[in-house]
């Protein structure tokens, strides 16, 4: 699968749930590539913007779409990565700001 196919595959389903891809396509397609890269590295699509532990059980919360997306999109209009956004965010009705990390740091195992 390539980035474009992944994009098309996810788009329909996620939009039906009210989550839209960031309309900055340069950014969104780069994130598609990174998701495919992580799929190759770990066997699952871990969030590209977080430090994955490398084992499925310990990274369950950051499988894209991560469990933090709902709260982040509700509060900031965008997820931590900026991949998934609300319609209003894409329309410029919400201020674009850095989304703070919601994942507890102790989820990183080392």
């Amino acid at each position: 699968m390539d980035a474009k196919q992944l994009y098309e595959q996810l788009k329909k389903f996620q939009e039906s749930k009210g989550y839209y891809f960031n309309d900055d396509m340069e950014m969104t397609m780069a994130l598609m590539e990174s998701l495919l890269e992580n799929k190759k590295r770990f066997g699952y699509m871990a969030c590209p913007c977080r430090l994955a532990n490398g084992d499925y059980e310990n990274d369950k919360d950051i499988l894209c779409p991560c469990v933090y997306r709902e709260e982040d999109v509700k509060e900031y209009g965008a997820c931590f990565c900026g991949l998934y956004v609300s319609k209003e965010w894409n329309e410029g009705k919400i201020e674009k700001q850095v989304v703070p990390e919601r994942r507890p740091p102790d989820k990183i195992i080392f």
Binding site: M27, A30, L31, S34, E37, N38, P48, C49, R50, L51, A52, F80, C81, G82, V98, V99, P100, E101, R103, P105, I108, F110
Partner: protein, 82 residues
């Protein structure tokens, strides 16, 4: 005198890529560590170092002299660069 600049990043993270690009545009020199590429003790020590600067251990964490900028925030980077 120019400040020491380090960026702790992930190789797959778009905000890290954008932050690096911005630092390049600013024409400053910096040291970049891709934490996801590290293993074993090096990974552990680096995470500890990031935690000291940014307890959330999120990326990018950019250390500019005595200032720490968490996430790609141009205004904060500009301010820290002085």
């Amino acid at each position: 005198m120019s400040k020491d600049i380090s960026i702790y990043a992930l190789s797959t993270c778009i905000h890290c890529k954008n932050a690096k690009k911005y630092l390049d545009e600013c024409g400053v020199e910096y040291n970049c560590v891709f934490v996801d590429k590290l293993e074993g003790d090096e990974r552990k020590q680096t995470i500890e170092a990031v935690k000291k600067h940014n307890p959330a251990v999120s990326f990018p964490t950019i250390v500019i002299g005595d200032d720490v900028v968490v996430g790609f925030n141009k205004d904060k980077i500009d301010k820290a660069l002085g």
